[in-house]
């Protein structure tokens, strides 16, 4: 296959000025070029993009993906290395380049299309299609300052997409116009893809990459981490991101927790002296309510391998560990242990307790641990809240109750919609349709 874009150990350095002196006077007077720090926006990156492929460039903010795109688009030049690009490049990076508010839609189409290097006749031939695609037939001869921002974007997008480019550069996913128009745009991109246009898109939304691309390149801090099948890259990327979040959370809670633990120790000692007079207050687990006869002192999520985690793959088995402590003699309690799972907006997805499951006679100790195991977690990707409670068996009141003791994330390669994955299969005329869904990694 023909290589359309060849990036050869490209580096791009930026100067980060702390206070960039713009004026000649300042330069002369201070005799300096200003205080700056150099950093690599892109460092020694190489890759090749083949004709007709749709490639996704992924990475977090500041990973250098947009800089890369700008260099391919030739608005920036690399400091080291080479970039070879074959054929006409169109970009959906800047829509409506050079639009003038006082000119009519038609004149602006004309100006905008000329930026791509077309001749007059070529533009003339395209104009009817562009206008039809933009759905602005009735307004095309009005000055575009009278347009709404949606109309403006539609016009701009229509021009950009009718440039018969060999390579199309797309930055982030297109939030143009209403849902119908977006679908139309997506269709048009599919069509161009079918016609052999090479597409390079930049995004941090992994699901787009998986849906649209046949190859992915992952950049982090200016360097290429890996490249390959979108699915493969997606797993790596998500695992990496989850790990990062984990780190941040741990360092945050550790700080809080260390502080409280020392308070807790003091309290326990105090309680030993004057029984019942002082009760332990737990604040580090978030908002809770209850009469305090029993309290939860700590909480942990662990995955099937026993590691402390807050993100899980659909299908994974997870265990919630809750540590409790009774503030009255445990024989006096009629414990009823419950669990709740909420979605991000706080809608209850599932809840149950031991009493409802028929166990009304659970014995607790003074201090102990309750494990709640969720086998084969069939939640779809998203953020969830976990709640836990010990109430009395009649559910008249709680000893301690959390609606949100911990949040967790679920990710997977599933594109299903809803909350829960229901086991299913499609059978068409007797043949089972194979699903790309992978359970546990």
């Amino acid at each position: 296959m023909e290589t359309m874009i060849e990036v050869e150990s490209v580096s791009k350095k930026f100067r980060l000025y702390y206070d960039r002196p713009l004026s000649l006077k300042e330069r002369i007077v201070t005799g300096s070029k200003g205080v700056y720090k150099e950093f690599y926006a892109v460092k020694d990156v190489s890759f090749k993009i083949k004709k007709g492929s749709t490639v996704g460039l992924v990475g977090q903010n500041g990973s250098g993906k947009s800089t890369m795109l700008k260099m391919i688009n030739r608005t920036m030049f690399p400091d080291q290395g080479k970039i070879k690009v074959k054929g006409k490049v169109a970009s959906l990076i800047e829509l409506g380049a050079g639009f003038h508010p006082d000119l009519s839609g038609r004149e602006n189409i004309y100006n905008n299309a000329s930026v791509f290097g077309f001749t007059r006749d070529e533009i003339k031939a395209k104009i009817p299609n562009i206008i039809r695609f933009s759905e602005l037939e009735g307004f095309i001869d009005n000055p575009i300052r009278t347009y709404s921002s949606g109309m403006y974007a539609r016009l701009a997008f229509s021009v950009a997409i009718h440039v018969d480019a060999d390579i199309l550069l797309v930055d982030e996913i297109l939030g143009v116009g209403d849902i119908n128009f977006q679908a139309k745009c997506a269709n048009k991109i599919y069509e161009m893809r079918k016609d052999g246009t090479t597409i390079l898109m930049v995004t941090h939304d992994m699901s787009t990459i998986d849906r649209l691309c046949d190859y992915a390149i992952w950049l982090d801090k200016g360097e290429k981490v890996s490249e390959g099948e979108p699915k493969e890259i997606q797993y790596q990327y998500l695992a990496f991101m989850a790990g990062k979040q984990e780190e941040r959370r741990k360092s945050e809670t550790e700080e809080n927790f260390n502080k409280e633990e020392s308070d807790l120790d003091k309290d326990v000692e105090g309680e030993a002296k004057e029984e019942k007079e002082t009760r332990i207050e737990i604040t580090h687990l978030g908002d809770h309510f209850g009469n305090g006869d029993l309290i939860f002192t700590d909480f942990k999520f662990i995955n099937s391998r026993g590691t402390d985690k807050r993100s899980f793959y659909t299908g994974e088995s997870i265990k919630a560990k809750v540590f409790y402590q009774c503030q009255v003699p445990p024989e006096k309690l009629l414990p009823n242990i419950g669990l709740e799972v909420y979605d991000e907006q706080g809608r209850l997805i599932y809840g149950s307790n031991t009493a409802r499951e028929g166990q009304k006679n659970i014995k607790l100790k003074d201090k102990g641990e309750i494990d709640i195991e969720l086998k084969d977690l069939q939640l779809l990707p998203g953020d969830y809240k976990f709640g836990v409670a010990v109430a009395d068996v009649e559910e008249t009141g709680s000893y301690d109750h959390y609606h949100n003791i911990a949040q967790f994330k679920v990710y997977s390669n599933s594109h299903d919609i809803g909350y829960v994955r229901l086991q299913h299969k499609f059978v068409v005329d007797g043949t089972e349709v194979e699903s790309s869904f992978k359970g546990v990694l």
């Binding site: 004026s23 920036m76 800047e94 380049a97 006082d102 000119l103």
Partner: protein, 261 residues
């Protein structure tokens, strides 16, 4: 040099963009005003009215037909100042395009200069009937005008290249230029004839690339005499050198436009 040829080829490929941007420049200049495009003609006409009222009555010059004398030089001078003053901002104002879309950057200065040329030609259309009104005789020497237009365009393009690219790096240039232009105005034979200057000083004045052109514009239109071929040739070479150097500077500086803007 090879780079320049490649760039030139690419610029030719983008000729449609040059055309449409020149048109846009011209059309949007007076957009929204009541007279619109007519201003291109009305503006110089009103200027001429002002001069022909002020000079004969308020300031007395020996020069016969002073308003016309000045006007034929003032129009090219306006084009010249535009290529210095107005040009300083063309890259900066179009920064959203420059940073995000690829096209040969030269298109912006080229179309700006061409729109200036068009404006000058339109203004000169006022000159012809006025020459008649002021009873200045027409001669065949007027046919030199296109040649002068051509040379001045090359000169202005070169200056535009330099000014617009340097201004991206030093925004102070804009302000320096407006002062410089005012000084140059008095040092150029716009308000007076070159012969009014001592011949020693004349040599220094010819360092200004516009001096020769202004003298020739006045020769062929107002005075109706043939122009000095040697002066024409020198002006042409001078303009070409400035344009070449200007383009070189532009090519060098344009690589970092996106980062700086």
């Amino acid at each position: 040099m090879i780079e320049m040829i490649d760039r030139a080829k690419e610029i030719i490929q983008f000729q449609e963009m040059i055309k449409s941007w020149t048109r846009k420049e011209l059309r949007t200049r007076y957009k929204g005003s009541f007279l619109g495009f007519l201003w291109t003609f009305v503006n110089p006409l009103l200027q001429l009215v002002v001069y022909s009222l002020i000079f004969p009555f308020i300031m007395k010059f020996n020069q016969e037909n002073y308003a016309m004398f000045m006007f034929v030089a003032l129009i090219p001078w306006n084009f010249f100042t535009a290529s210095l003053q107005g040009a300083s901002g063309i890259i900066v104002w179009n920064s959203s395009m420059v940073t995000k879309v690829y096209f040969p950057r030269e298109i912006l200065p080229i179309s700006y200069t061409l729109s200036g040329l068009c404006n000058m030609i339109f203004s000169y259309m006022i000159v012809f009937p006025m020459l008649f009104v002021f009873r200045v005789s027409f001669t065949w020497n007027l046919l030199w005008l296109p040649v002068l237009f051509f040379i001045q365009t090359i000169l202005c393009l070169g200056l535009t290249f330099i000014v617009c690219s340097i201004n991206v790096y030093f925004r102070d240039l804009e302000n320096l230029i407006s002062v410089g232009v005012l000084a140059l105005y008095f040092l150029s034979p716009v308000m007076y004839d070159i012969t009014a200057i001592p011949s020693k000083l004349q040599k220094i004045m010819f360092l200004n690339p516009m001096t020769g052109l202004l003298v020739m514009y006045r020769d062929v239109t107002f005075k109706g005499v043939a122009l000095d071929i040697k002066m024409l040739f020198i002006s042409l070479v001078y303009a070409c050198v400035i344009c070449f150097v200007g383009w070189k500077i532009f090519i060098k500086l344009q690589k970092k436009f996106t980062e700086i803007l």
